[in-house]
């Protein structure tokens, strides 16, 4: 499914070049949950951002090859990348609250992905059920546009009122009235095909009352629900591959168990490949089939989950496993991990 060969990513900073990735080799097979573990700064997240080209401007992929389903996407165009992001590879970030847009409803956010990647399906469903495909064109313009128009109108009105020529303000009042009228009329429109698909996407991640959740804002939902919404978004584009970057770090253990179970269930149902990035070896043991341990921008060990915990080969893996408190009161062995990031 996803093949990474000898990937090297550098960060160009004022202090010099930071070699975040020093030749990463990784293969995620079809329908497999692959775990990538390592400590802060070892390059786990940079690996996944390099695949999706979500790196900041200071970073550059200098060497290596990334293959997705046999297609070389190392130097893919921005247009192609936009199809891949969300369409072929879905991604779940660590902190759902900062990954979701706080001023857009869940409906708008998931609808955006569906409109971009599933336009045909939306139209098909619309034709089938004889309902409009999209409720309005609202999703296409950003909320900022409407706000700007509103601000302009109000400032002109107040300007004319101040000049004592309130009558000139009337056309602007009319614009505001029209905008409000449009919103009022659209409020009672029947569900569009897009709405139905959003609701379907939400119920796939076992969210109760999806219709109500669709119309709410991210801050109104609990952490677990937000992460479920994130998963729904990652799956909305019918991606066959899911990258989960520390999906449960911000959650409580009981909620973490729910979310991991959900990811496992969905992976099985849809036969997806999942690349699970985490620092928690326990999570890997519970969820993954294969696991790679990363250290200083390199993969130091790759094995099946049973083998890596029963019989770790690399010194770093051993040290990492020893550092985890396990019952007993004997002193913890502190691994000598050295400094992060080679400059």
């Amino acid at each position: 499914m996803l093949e990474i060969e000898n990937l090297k990513t550098n960060f160009y900073t004022y202090d010099g070049v930071v070699k975040a990735l020093n030749g990463v080799d990784l293969t995620v097979k079809d329908g497999e949950i692959f775990g990538l573990v390592g400590e802060t700064g070892c390059g786990k997240s940079v690996t996944c951002y390099s695949v999706l080209k979500l790196l900041p401007k200071t970073a550059k992929v200098v060497d290596g090859k990334i293959t997705l389903n046999g297609e070389d996407i190392t130097h893919a165009s921005e247009k192609r990348l936009r199809e891949i992001r969300g369409g072929e590879i879905g991604i779940i970030f660590q902190d759902p609250l900062s990954a979701l847009n706080p001023v857009m409803t869940i409906n708008e956010q998931i609808g955006e992905i569906l409109a971009l990647h599933q336009d045909e399906e939306v139209n098909e469903l619309a034709a089938e059920q004889n309902i409009p495909a999209y409720k309005s064109e609202k999703w296409k313009g950003s909320p900022g546009v409407e706000f700007t128009i509103l601000a302009f109108c109000i400032s002109f009105i107040s300007l004319f009122v101040m000049l004592g020529q309130a009558a000139f303000g009337l056309p602007f009042i009319a614009v505001i009235a029209l905008m409000l009228l449009r919103d009022y009329l659209q409020k009672d429109l029947p569900d569009s095909a897009l709405d139905l698909m959003v609701i379907e996407a939400l119920s796939r991640v076992k969210l109760p009352n999806p219709k109500q959740i669709a119309s709410s804002y991210p801050h109104e939902l609990s952490g677990g629900m937000q992460q479920r919404v994130m998963i729904a978004m990652a799956l909305a584009g019918k991606a066959k591959m899911l990258i989960a970057d520390e999906p449960t770090t911000a959650l409580d253990v009981t909620i973490q168990a729910q979310i991991l179970q959900l990811i496992k269930d969905i992976q099985k149902e849809e036969q997806m490949s999942v690349l699970l990035i985490t620092h928690d070896l326990g999570v890997v043991a519970e969820t993954c089939e294969k696991v790679a341990v990363m250290y200083k921008g390199k993969i130091v060990e790759e094995a099946s989950v049973e083998n890596i915990f029963a019989n770790p080969q690399h010194d770093y893996t051993k040290a990492l496993l020893n550092a985890i408190p396990k019952g007993g009161k004997e002193r913890l062995k502190v691994p000598d991990v050295g400094e992060y990031g080679a400059i």
């Binding site: 400590e39 609990s222 269930d265």
Partner: protein, 343 residues
């Protein structure tokens, strides 16, 4: 001295009012709802629970950073410094200052706890200056830094020049500055990697031995809790649902929430019994209005959905709303209390 209660918490309650726009109370957030604990001197007392269960409020009430609504904290002679009363809530402002010398705090996020514009020597020396112990200040600060594995060369640096683990060491050094008897550790390692976590846990154990400290260790990571603590209380919705010695609690959990918590913690053991807790974290808000007053104890729609999803997967489950029913704390065996139906 070891084994004597140093702090006793009796029926401690902290209710935060929720006001409507007119300023009248409409509901109470029952952050602490009748907590009884006895903390033994020279031991480590653990408090676990998920976000919103009242762990942090308990810590803040113990330091009297917030005043409890009712109930009391009894101070033993070890930390009672000729105070007019041995009840924490009766102490005057002056006495509170003295009391806070006896109790140190280590917060979760070391970056947030350290002033970015102060030098390490000022940060560690600040409590000494505030409490007027300015003799040999420099030597004392160096000694404190040595205690936590840092040195004289770190005196004239700013917090941002240190790694996460080192910053946590600085916070610990500052907490030790006034030679406290008790140190409250609020998730001291949750922001750290396992290897650094191992260092910090070792350091905490060394310091406890050296200074005969009592730790109150708040965490959600059960493997850390199991390693560090002698006795343990599990909190749920502002109440202690189970309290026992660590070994006893881990080998013989009685309350369904404890069982689910232990099972939800990711571990390397395969084929262990899996108990999932279904549904979302309940709201601790209790409405004063009678019609809304009851906490939901019937199954929610999400729980029904999740039950359907995991049926036939060989996973036992606990419905979270069933945990909202409050049972009295009963003694299940020696030193082991839980809120379960007595046999």
């Amino acid at each position: 001295m070891s084994g004597q209660p140093i702090l006793e918490i009796k029926e401690l309650r902290k209710h935060f009012p929720v006001k409507n726009v007119w300023g009248t109370d409409i509901a109470l957030v029952k952050a602490l709802d009748g907590v009884d604990l006895s903390i033994e001197s020279g031991k480590t007392f653990g408090i676990v629970g998920e976000s919103g269960c009242g762990k942090t409020t308990l810590m803040r009430t113990l330091l009297r950073l917030v005043n409890p609504s009712s109930g009391s904290v009894l101070l033993s002679d070890q930390i009672n410094d000729d105070f007019s009363s041995n009840r924490l809530e009766n102490l005057s402002h002056e006495e509170l200052r003295k009391f806070r010398r006896r109790i140190g705090v280590v917060f979760q996020d070391p970056i947030g706890a350290l002033n970015p514009r102060m030098l390490i020597k000022d940060i560690v020396g600040e409590p000494l200056v505030i409490h007027g112990k300015t003799e040999h200040l420099r030597e004392r600060v160096i000694e404190l830094l040595h205690n936590v594995g840092l040195g004289e060369e770190h005196l004239y640096r700013y917090p941002h020049e240190f790694s996460g683990g080192q910053r946590q060491r600085i916070v610990i050094a500052r907490a030790l500055a006034l030679e406290p008897k008790i140190i409250v550790l609020d998730e001291p390692t949750s922001a750290l990697d396992v290897s650094v976590q191992a260092q910090i846990l070792n350091l905490l154990n060394d310091l406890q031995e050296k200074y005969e400290l009592t730790y109150i260790f708040i965490s959600h990571d059960l493997s850390v809790i199991e390693y560090m603590c002698d006795r343990l209380a599990v909190m749920y919705l502002g109440k202690v649902v189970e309290e026992a010695d660590t070994e006893e609690l881990f080998s013989n959990p009685r309350h369904p929430y404890t069982k689910a918590l232990l099972s939800a913690t990711p571990s390397f053991e395969k084929d262990r019994e899996k108990i999932m807790i279904l549904g979302d974290v309940p709201s601790p808000i209790a409405y004063l209005d009678e019609s809304k007053a009851k906490l939901a104890t019937e199954m929610t729609e999400q729980e029904r959905l999740e039950i359907k999803a995991i049926e036939g997967k060989g996973i036992d489950y606990i419905v979270r709303s069933s945990l909202n029913e409050v049972l009295p704390l009963v003694k299940v065996s020696r030193n082991h209390y839980a809120r379960v139906k007595s046999q």
